[in-house]
Symmetry: C3
Subunit: 382 residues, 3 copies
């Protein structure tokens, strides 16, 4: 068992943790869209409660702006693009990508005070990141790096959900290993041997780092099938990161303990989960499963998509039911927390701290930018 703890941690609220009612952290880079979702068509999406307009300029820069004309509130996404400018569909006001009005057909001069918000955007393909908070704090240097998603030495399969739940519960689910044998009992990602893993929780600034290792154990299907190592004995090393309110990723390293002809000694997987709140109680969720082996194996792609969707759908269903449950409760209640909840509690304290800092207006520097590197070599596990 994982760090069994007979005594319970005191109840959640008293522990000063974020929950589904905590204001969303806005001063953070969130993924607004996948790169290929943003093009020369005007697209509407709601991010952190604001409805925005997304498009790409003629030279390919993604633009994300307020989707409301300042004149008579027409949603600009119902207008059209003219070159790099958005033209309102009601009275024809033109706006540049930075939100400045340059032309209004019924007036000789463009109104100088007509502006719309244009949100800071940084694209690191395949992700388009946006800053919906205080623009003065938007430092492009702090946009998270996810190089494995674009590196030709890796192959990534992916998918997305729109989930009726808050991001707190979704992040906690990712930091929580103890639900695997129950919620995912039928999915084969929580093998009995899994409970013998060692686990270390490191809080590194506003990042929660989970270090796990399971040695000399049969490869579970989720790794064994795509690597053709089914039921073979491997060491598994994993570094998972709550990197920011927007991002969780985990580097896994599978060490082949019985290398046969033509086989590699080490295989690496990185799982990436991206959450962008739509409203307080719903999120846009993108997942990515990246591997550095069998890149051209279409069978491995298909297996990984199917297995991922099956497991993540179980999480999505569970968290949706939980959100429904807490939303319909009219009387106050507290969550009980236990030893194995430690990683999630660490994350929830960070989320509450960030939300409180924002409410007080004294938010410090943004979340760190650098992705934790994929471990370089077998045996280097923390």
């Amino acid at each position: 068992m994982l760090q069994p703890t007979p005594a319970s941690v005191p109840a959640a609220r008293k522990q000063q943790m974020a929950d589904h009612t905590t204001p969303l952290v806005r001063d953070c880079w969130y993924v607004a869209a996948l790169s290929d979702e943003v093009g020369r068509e005007l697209k509407e999406r709601t991010l952190l409660g604001k409805t925005v307009l997304m498009y790409r300029t003629q030279d390919g820069q993604p633009v994300i702006m307020q989707n409301r004309c300042p004149h008579r509130n027409f949603p600009l996404s119902k207008g059209r693009l003219e070159g790099d400018q958005v033209v309102c569909g009601y009275h024809g006001m033109h706006f540049t990508p930075n939100g400045k009005c340059t032309f209004m057909p019924s007036m000789n001069n463009a109104p100088a005070n007509a502006r719309i918000a244009s949100y800071p955007v940084v694209e690191k393909a395949p992700l388009v990141w946006v800053w919906m908070g205080d623009p003065a704090k938007a430092d492009p240097a702090t946009v998270p790096d996810t190089p494995w998603l674009a590196d030709p030495a890796w192959k990534t399969v992916s998918g997305q959900f729109h989930v009726g739940t808050n991001y707190v519960a979704m992040h906690e689910n990712l930091l929580d290993q103890t639900h695997f044998p129950i919620l995912h009992a039928g999915t084969g990602i929580g093998t009995p041997a899994y409970s013998k893993s060692t686990m270390e929780v490191r809080v590194e600034g506003d990042v929660v780092h989970l270090v796990r290792a399971l040695l000399d154990s049969p490869a579970p299907d989720i790794y064994g099938v795509p690597m053709n190592l089914k039921d073979r004995i491997v060491d598994r090393h994993s570094d998972g990161y709550f990197a920011s309110p927007a991002l969780h990723y985990a580097h896994a390293r599978i060490v082949n303990k019985d290398v046969r002809a033509g086989e590699r000694e080490e295989y690496r997987f990185t799982i990436t989960h991206i959450y962008t709140p739509d409203q307080q109680g719903s999120i846009h969720y993108w997942w990515f499963n990246s591997r550095d082996c069998n890149l051209d194996d279409a069978g491995a792609d298909a297996f990984l998509v199917e297995a991922s969707v099956k497991a993540y759908q179980e999480d999505v269903d569970a968290l949706t039911w939980i959100q429904e449950t807490v939303e319909r409760e009219t009387e106050p209640f507290e969550e009980l927390s236990f030893g194995p909840d430690r990683p999630g509690i660490a994350m929830r304290r960070i989320l509450l701290k960030l939300a409180n800092e924002e409410a007080r207006g004294d938010a410090g520097p943004a979340t760190p930018a650098a992705a934790q590197p994929v471990p370089a070599a077998a045996g280097a596990a923390a």
Copy 2:
């Protein structure tokens, strides 16, 4: 006409009566389910605004518990039964029927403080009664008796509705005889002769008792058809009871005034209406039509089901429209009440008194338990 009264009773609110906004009475035994709805599958239902989990133990005891794991709010009805215990579908916490946690897979010892509410339950087949209020006041001796529903000397047909209305208006409808010739004009339960009935209203503690009699009158279809006494002259005696916020029943006795070969002198019917609030503005509604004659007559069964559903559907429609009407009104208004509303007003005063006592925390003993007996013999009517 029924006790015609030219002067109106002063307006409803000033009369201190419950209406659709009055808090629901919680310190009361309510029917949670029919016996055959509760089995070895986990079942979810909302009762008085709380979502509960229902199942039956291996030895057949019905269990009704809070449908929310105290750890991370997973709805336990999405988990599974293991013997008599409920296993949470998220992290596998086990709960006994009395709500105690006995096992959590990720911990060596079950957390001592992990408990869920288990509600007092008493089964009197075919009804499973639950106490959703202050458990200290839940006295099994006060669970209503409805022996006619289980007595082999009686035959019962039944049905159920989920109705978008408050229980106040539904109870008032049952105590109100004057809507029969209008709302049920096409159903044949309000014959012209019916308006010649005598009626007495007795308030007996928190019970409202309606005593009615109609002598030497043709049997209406609702009694005449199943008894093969269609259009024959009978005496009708009826004792109706607002027994509690959860229960209304009426004993009818039909006296055959012209007994022919093979006929009985007296036939008895008991109608039972059970209301359990789902939320403030909606109820679970079960009805039962019981008779002590022609027990094996499938034609009588079918006739009584069809006639009951037709009439009760008219009530359900009317009360749903009324609820929609009062919910969409934004300006305050008052109901006018008249003499014939006396039984309903008595009931509404009791409901308000009970709600007020509960709000003040000084609720007295629960509603009386004993069902009023079916009258024993012809001619004994009050």
Copy 3:
């Protein structure tokens, strides 16, 4: 361009203008229904947040009453008509057209205090006008006249929408000429020449009067096709009126500058828009397109219906999107206004003034009754 103005008018709220949150003006004659919608069937409709019952007496008078029985709140529209009286479907209370209860089956005497509101109604076919505000202020002399809708010298085509928006934005749309070339770019009602019109805005009491003229210009399709003057040179004169919160109409006069054999020198069109708020954010909308020429031309009828529906649907869509946009915004914002918005701003100040007067209880005389006459002869344009 129309009165180009480089400097913007200060922001909307500071300008003391009505917006979608301003309380609806109630002391005003509104159209409840078309004459042919009201007959011997009970009909329910919501007007200014109140649900009413509409029917016509045996001698043809339209009646509009509160749709709620004062006894137990049954919606009277679910009852039935008996002669000129409405009979409640629950207990059979009878109400005269003026709302007085005359009979209750369960009582010897009708309850003297049982009354329902009957709203002042004036029919000027094809319109049934109602006064939902303070009845003491309902002066039939102030019901707007729209004689062209009933005059056999005119032919009218019409249609209706139920629109999810507030009347403020709809009225502003009608007073706003500058959206034509953008929103209606594909409908051909905003020709390039149109922007050369002269326009004068006159505020006449609580009426906003727009006077426009465009001389020696090709007839647009909307006039040219039904008059068989397609692409011919005409003078266009138009007098548009925000006549009341309920009514906008515009008289257009088209002067044929090159009269050929069998042609008239002048053609007149009158466009009528009627808005009746359902709730704060939705309206019943009826439109009418009336002409004094080619009265029997079914092709002209069909063309005008198709062209009108196409253009008005564009307005309805735009205003619905705008309402959705302002309703989902949680942060305060201001509209920017510009010179061309002057007519709309004048109207919005009147709407705010009327709402404020009503809130203070010092509303003056109602809106003027007389329709502005259709101009009598060519050349008389303002």
